[in-house]
Subunit: 694 residues, 2 copies
């Protein structure tokens, strides 16, 4: 600041300014000092997490590439209007698609760019659903027709399934496609308001075509939902075609760069070839040829894939939030016991560190879980090529419950991280509000989380029934077999430190899961008059207990996977000793914090005494203290470039206050010094002379 | 829909459309049927909650008044840009202020209008802090100068305390006001980046003046923070005065109609009279006259008042969210066991009703708590006029912990309600995202919730120490006295229904609170080497346990208040028997759901057995079932006009799908059929001819 002060004023102020500056600290020095405390090499861990140092270097190259594009500049990202968000988001996606094609980039590069730019656009479902559906359900002729156009973006598609009145219950969709054999056409129609297609991304103002899920009727018979490629806009004018009503459904909590849309049809005729006929077919003369019986399994496989990617992404999003909050609370200071002394780093408050470090453990655990899910999916995919679907039920149950668990924890975790940042966390410039508002939809889409937990619960109840019938169990629910269950077993922990042992942790988590499955089965049986039924009133009135059981099962699996992955990496020397030691502490903290959540259940079933349950608290405290010096290094290992986080508070260098001020200065509301309300509202009030002239 | 179909197409579609419409239901009929199930008169309860039927009628009049104003129309509220939000929010606030003055309305009317319009603007702190501070801390001359100008909005003020680097720790503020006795002026100065004032509402582009909190220096001595009225903008041009840097801090998660601002001073001279001198004074010649000793208490009293209003508002906001979610889930249907049958009302799923009804109980409890807090404050205020501050420590401790508890639960509860609404809850048109994003700041401002809990914890630890020293305890912490504590006492519940008794519930909640206070004291003593200290490292490293204790104490108080209020209303015949019966069920559910949260603690301390803890779950289920038929009537009793909720999903008539579609149709992104990205992005892609000409 260049000063306006004359010499005597400057002199008058000198001592007071010195006084109030006493105890001031530099956030940049705080950040550097924090890093010096680490006991392990965060770059080693970063390379391991990125599956190779090359990938880290590639990430840096991609950041350079993206930030040099006009649409890749993030400086004004938090200031866009809805309309600007939509246009710029689409520009960014088109830009990335072109770069990928021009530079013949790998799919991994594409995924990395998408994550770095973090600017979803109207092509999301073109790439994520329209093209894949044509590839999986289209005949070779249909693929030959649509794929080149789709790849060149000469047509842009989306996937229109959900309706204003219909979500989860796909069989109940009300859009119809009725075959008119005289014209060899389908008539596509929306018979009521509730049948309006609602939500498809890119549908509002971008897409020219849709894959439409509609109830197929041939010769009066209802064959249920089938997929059709239907053009909705004129390719020359981009205007809706006759009989098509289409538009954007309006602003959302987040994700506003995507134009989610509505769509209805008034007796629109489409050629017979519009139906995707790789599996089911309708012949010219109107004969329905059903799909092969394994087709259902294939569509389950797609769901499993999407859920696996959601699990993977949860680790990504939670770790971003934890990175921002940990970095900021390490340099933010609040309250000194004595005026003039440095204030305390916020991360040194017990409640802040006991909040952030367990969340950090979760983020790590989700990253490992995401990796394992993708591996599992890939081996299943290989088996599937040999028509081997054996792994599917297990994978479906796991991916459903883990989708729900990981997204629940991540959504809540992002908001928790935001709150640890105090007032400044409320600014978009912190990066956290946008992260939360755009992430939280993951708890709802691709299967609402309660529906997801219930998928897992169905599998668990079936497993429990099989076990009771003396059938052998395999896979993740094996612990439900009679042989594994020792109802009389008691927790063997006799000191807080005992709770660190993976064996004690896994035994306790297993016990809780088994107990909650048994409780849910009891509730379900009671509701069904002794019978276990999987739908209807009995099932619907037992969902609270079923969801609890599924959550406990998913938690157990999650922790087992974390333990296994870290041990495997340590054994195979993928991690040095000091790094492995820190990761093991994170694993321990993960287990303890999961067990603290179910302390009531552990005692209720008689597995733990009150004393043992209380020891969990003590041990969590001890683990958090042990990990505290490595807090910053552990988030550095996630290796998020500043460009990606786009957060004034999450800057790696710690220069948070300067970043906040810089961001405020370019805020469009400051474009004029008097502000946009001066002329229309304030002038007449503040200046009575002006008012009297009016 | 007028149809485009020719007769033969119409005929072809007739049967299929009939088929897919089978099982369709009308949301409006669902809503009506739900209301018929109620066992009590919701209008009676509405009048009771509104403290008189007249107030309900007045509410309707105010809705008419507001919705007829150009700035009161909410149709486009969810479509505004940041700039529009700011300008329109300010217009609305100015409009309401003028109406209040012109029509000589009561303060209650003003509060009601503010809540109905729900459009905070740049005058929030002018009305809420600037004027009250001048009234409480200004001399009669200062009041005479500023009040007429403030009331006519010829000056607009705000309250500038927090700085970029300083929040909670007010003593550590770095803005200085140095007295220059030669000029009889103060020099106001911001010595560093971190001392930039940051956050004050209305500061960005609206305010002409601020009450500035600055460290007062007289003759080299630091007297700590004092209040000064400082002009920051020219009244003719609205431009910042020389030496003043001011602007908007940028977009936030919510509350974007308010221009929170930043402000720094470069050696700005203000007259001696700028200091608010009712209590502390600086004489012309530079002598500091300290405030009377009770002054500190007065500022605590202001905090208590603000926190009491936050508690009151929490009931308001949570009940709005619960109203929307209950109404929507009662008419939304999802999944039939058989195609063609009506799908199940979402509110009939166990997990949905066991989520919403306990939240409804919380909302009711907060409404009663808010009322009681305001009564307590008013009696304290009356006593204060007689210089009686006896009630202050208790009131301060209660209002702090309850502020934290009620805002925590409300913020999480709004988001929970949003999730119960599935995908449609993600639309701004549902009303819930805006409610969440604007509400959640209440967990942070006016004292971050962890800081708030710790205020209560300090009081609890002090009470526990007093009890140990054999001193008698009064007020809410009386249960900590040695006489009240029966360490050996055991829970007397022997059936699930026993858990409904207020005596059992309160005994258990009291036990948990006492136990957690004792645990926290132990942790604190261990951290302090045997000594209980109230700041420094020992305190900072015990905050997790201290916060748990404070939360348990606040929960106990909350429930006790709910029990007492409902019983008093029933006894005094303010409620009919059927209404009182339903409210008693809500009270029971409230207690049971609070106890379920601490089931682990109940068992850990040996108070409950596992069996007794398990009975809580059974009883919650039974109470939820019992209350289910009254769900809609119970939210109707909150009596929110559709205008206030501004929610497509929360409409009283249940016509939710029409409302969603109506809201989408007027969405500005649909202003042109081809959309805003067609010319700049899509045309060249979709139409290769155009591209080839480029």
């Amino acid at each position: 600041m260049s000063s306006r002060a004359d010499p005597s004023t400057a002199q008058l102020l000198e001592a007071p300014c010195r006084t109030v500056m006493r105890g001031s600290t530099s956030p940049m020095e705080d950040a550097a000092a924090e890093r010096r405390k680490a006991t392990f090499d965060s770059e080693e861990l970063a390379a391991f997490l990125a599956e190779g140092k090359d990938n880290l270097l590639r990430r840096e190259e991609l950041v350079k590439l993206l930030s040099s594009q006009p649409w890749g500049d993030k400086t004004h990202r938090y200031f866009l209007t809805r309309e600007q968000e939509y246009v710029c988001g689409l520009e960014a996606m088109v830009g990335m698609w072109k770069i990928m094609r021009e530079q013949r980039m790998s799919m991994e590069d594409g995924i990395a760019m998408r994550s770095l730019a973090y600017f979803p656009g109207g092509l999301e479902l073109h790439i994520g659903m329209f093209i894949p559906t044509i590839l999986s359900q289209g005949t070779p002729e249909q693929q030959a027709k649509w794929m080149p156009l789709s790849n060149r973006l000469q047509v842009i598609g989306t996937y229109a399934q959900t309706e204003l009145g219909h979500g989860t219950f796909v069989r109940g969709l009300q859009t119809v496609a009725v075959y008119d054999e005289s014209a060899r056409q389908f008539v596509v129609h929306s018979p009521c308001l509730e049948s309006t297609k609602w939500w498809p991304g890119g549908l509002g103002k971008t897409a020219t075509h849709v894959v439409l899920m509609a109830r197929l009727f041939v010769k009066g018979r209802d064959y249920g939902p089938h997929a059709f490629v239907v053009q909705i806009r004129d390719l020359d004018t981009h205007l809706p075609l006759p009989g098509v009503t289409v538009g954007d459904i309006g602003p959302k909590m987040g994700y506003n760069s995507v134009d989610n849309g509505f769509l209805s049809f008034d007796h629109v005729r489409v050629p017979r070839e519009a139906m995707l006929m790789r599996f089911a077919q309708v012949t010219e003369e109107g004969r329905y040829v059903p799909p092969p019986p394994d087709n259902q399994k294939a569509s389950y496989a797609t769901m499993v894939y999407v859920r696996a990617t959601i699990v993977r992404d949860s680790g990504d999003f939670l770790s971003r939030a934890v990175t921002i909050a940990t970095r900021y609370t390490a340099v933010r200071r609040q309250t000194a016991s004595k005026l003039g002394e440095p204030e305390v780093q916020v991360l040194d408050y017990d409640n802040v560190q006991q909040t952030l470090l367990p969340l950090m453990a979760r983020a790590y655990s989700f990253v490992f879980m995401g990796r394992s899910m993708m591996h599992m999916y890939n081996s299943f995919d290989a088996a599937r090529a040999r028509n081997d679907f054996v792994a599917l039920p297990e994978l479906h149950a796991l991916s459903s419950g883990l989708k729900a668990l990981c997204t629940d924890v991540t959504a809540a975790g992002i908001e928790t991280c935001r709150r640890q940042c105090g007032g400044h966390g409320y600014l978009l410039a912190s990066g956290l509000p946008t992260l939360f508002n755009s992430y939280v939809q993951n708890c709802t889409w691709e299967g609402d989380n309660s529906v997801m937990y219930l998928q897992t619960a169905r599998y668990l109840i079936k497993s429990a029934m099989a076990a009771q019938a003396g059938k052998p169990l395999t896979g993740s629910a094996q612990y439900l077999s009679a042989a594994s269950q020792q109802a009389g077993a008691r927790c063997g922990v006799s000191s807080p430190a005992d709770w660190c042992s993976p064996a004690h942790q896994l035994a306790a988590l297993t016990r809780v899961a088994a107990q909650l499955v048994a409780q849910a089965a009891q509730v379900l049986a009671r509701a069904g008059g002794g019978r276990l039924s999987f739908d209807g009133e009995a099932w619907n009135s037992s969902t609270v207990d079923l969801i609890r059981a599924a959550r406990a099962h998913a938690s157990l699996y999650l922790h087992q996977n974390f333990v296994d992955c870290v041990e495997a990496a340590a054994e195979q020397r993928e991690l040095g000793d000091t790094t492995a030691a820190v990761l093991r502490q994170l694993v321990q903290l993960h287990g303890v914090s999961l067990l603290m959540e179910v302390a009531g259940d552990l005692q209720e079933g008689g597995y733990c005494t009150g004393r043992q349950a209380g020891m969990l608290r003590e041990q969590q405290r001890a683990l958090v203290y042990a990990l505290r010096p490595n807090a910053l290094a552990l988030v550095d290992a996630f290796a998020y470039p500043d460009y990606q986080l786009n957060s004034a508070l999450g800057r790696k260098d710690g220069n948070v206050y300067q970043a906040l001020l810089d961001s405020a200065r370019i805020n469009p509301l400051n474009a004029t010094p008097e502000g946009p309300a001066y002329k229309p509202v304030l002038q007449a009030l503040l200046n009575p002379e002006v008012r009297s002239r009016m």
